[in-house]
Amino acid sequence: MDLSWLDDFLWTYQNVIHSVGINGLLALSMYVVLAVGQLSLGQAAFMGLGAYSAALMTLKLGWPFWMVLPLSCVVPILFALAIGLPTLRLSGVYLAIATVGLGEVLKALYVNIDYVGGALGLTGIPEATETWMIYGLLALAVLAFWLVARSGIGRAMEAIREDETAARVMGVSCFRYQLGALVVSAMLAGIAGALEAHSTSLISPGEFGFEPEVSILSFALLGGIGTPIGPVVGAFILTLLPELLRGMADLRLVFNGVIIVVAVLFMPEGLVALRLRRRSA
């Protein structure tokens, strides 16, 4: 049997396939903070930190990818702790803007520091990301979130989302959960950044600002945050859509926007509007 068409297909769509999976991871990193009722928009910034630190480890220190990948979440996690401590007491949009601030400050730093390539960013990053790594991690993350959601921890998270005060009275330490969620979010985003950097050979400061952040948020919201599946589905759709609409030229983005609007108007809870049932009895 001639399978060369498959090779061709995989080669042609390799980057699409990678992006879809990486965006899935990013969507989950948004999901985990939304799951504790926080609109924290630092995911793109965390991704940037992961991407930059991983690329530097590869390019400047020459470390192998199997070491770089797990280490890529260290810097994002440290930042998450550092900004989480002062900002977590903010709520809603206030937190959102404070965390967007982190992204903007980092962007200004990347642009101004020549060691990390300035406006160009880091180039010539060797391709090391394999499709199975992305999807393996994605599957693991979904499974872990699923298991957590269906447990007391998941219940506590939902309680925080609904009413922080009441949750605290039940003995749920909102601060610990929210900081934990932020750290997990940073970890996922950081790893996604490392995968991205080693998939496209270039990272530049503009990729980690406000606009990508809005896309990450839309992955999670379009898919729905009732289950960890929703955000991943959202990421898949919104990443594939521009590719599928390639033929529409000028009107591509118009159409893309209209699809989002229609989808949300008719399914305001997201495309995967499920709620987990946690009753085991």
Partner: protein
């Protein structure tokens, strides 16, 4: 096949799209001329597929993979932005398909590999001419302003700085802004206090216009000479900035009133087809498409490897002047670089 597939990746949507659209218009015009004149390889037509990258790295890569994997193109023109070029060139180079940037000015772009070309002159070749002209008019000190978040502007600034240092101009201040900024008053006020003889602006045309407009509001007059980088070399500068742009000088490999028959024909054809004047980006793309067609003919086959080798040999005298590649796959000559000065919204050769 009786058509030769060629691809192009440009920014066709979003805020940067004026550049990508100009390039697409230029190459499309050239393509029609080539096909109307009987095509290449003895009668085969070139089929051009232009893909949108939306100024997004991933979409640029996706487009390149689609062009190579599905459309089986023999060469790619573009992409519009340097960052896109750096992202996709390693992959196209590995796949051995020539990519020819028409608007890529960053240092090191063509070093990625033997299949990476560009026809845009690095600014090192254009800026010194303008600086020399300014010094001839009495400039001794200069302040530099540039958009530090944009690659095109940044590399323009890098060259400007080196050129000013070599030419012996004293750089008394360096200020930055972001490409999307609309307010430059803080930087300009500071510069004004330092009273430089000249101000060099390295930015795309929109912010350059903004800087000029605000400079005039803040009282900069004819005593200060303004110099633009490659980005300022566009008829749109006059359209946006109007009288505020009067007196700005740019170095340019091409200019609209350039008095050669090729250029006159190009301008006329462009106006016929699009109802407006071309800019530098359109001209560059126009020349590049013609050069590529020549290389395909010379290669004698629709084979990317042979086309690459042919590209290294072809020469052409186009609207921009003589065009060929040097060993590093950069344009070989900076002949024809002119210094232009703006008056009443239009560039003309500086006296």
């Amino acid at each position: 096949a009786d058509t030769i597939p060629v691809g192009s990746i440009e920014v066709l949507t979003g805020p940067v799209s004026p550049y990508g659209i100009a390039i697409r218009d230029g190459e499309t015009l050239a393509l029609e001329e080539i096909n109307a004149a009987g095509g290449v390889l003895g009668g085969k037509k070139i089929a051009l597929t232009v893909e949108d990258s939306a100024a997004n790295k991933d979409q640029a890569i996706n487009a390149a993979r689609k062009l190579i994997g599905r459309d089986k193109v023999v060469a790619i023109i573009g992409p519009t932005l340097s960052a896109e070029y750096f992202a996709l060139a390693p992959m196209t180079n590995q796949r051995k398909v020539p990519v020819i940037g028409t608007s890529i000015t960053s240092i090191g772009a063509t070093d990625i590999g033997p299949f990476c070309f560009r026809t845009s002159l690095p600014e090192a070749d254009v800026i010194p001419a303008a600086l020399r002209k300014a010094m001839a008019r009495g400039a001794k000190t200069i302040a530099l302003l540039y958009a530090n978040d944009d690659l095109f502007s940044k590399s323009s600034y890098d060259q400007m700085k080196v050129a000013a240092e070599t030419a012996g101009l004293k750089i008394i201040d360096i200020e930055t802004f972001a490409t999307k900024d609309t307010d430059f008053s803080a930087q300009l006020t500071k510069v004004k206090g330092l009273k430089p003889d000249a101000i060099g602006i390295a930015a795309l045309v929109e912010p350059t216009a903004g800087v000029l407009l605000q400079a005039r509001q803040l009282g900069f007059g004819a005593e200060t000479q303004f110099l633009g980088g490659n980005g300022a070399n566009s008829p749109r500068l006059g359209e946006i900035a109007g009288a505020a742009a009067d007196g700005i000088m740019v170095g340019s490999p091409w200019f609209i009133a350039k008095d050669t028959p090729q250029n006159k024909a190009f301008i006329a054809a462009f106006n016929r087809k699009y109802g407006k004047n071309p800019d530098q980006f359109a001209a560059q793309a126009y020349d590049t498409m013609h050069l590529l067609a020549r290389a395909i003919d010379k290669a004698g086959a629709a084979d990317p490897l042979k086309i690459r080798d042919a590209l290294m040999q072809v020469k052409q005298d186009g609207v921009m002047g003589p065009l060929s590649f040097n060993a590093k796959r950069d344009p070989a000559s900076a002949e024809g670089v002119l210094v232009l000065e703006m008056h009443a919204g239009k560039f003309s050769i500086a006296p």
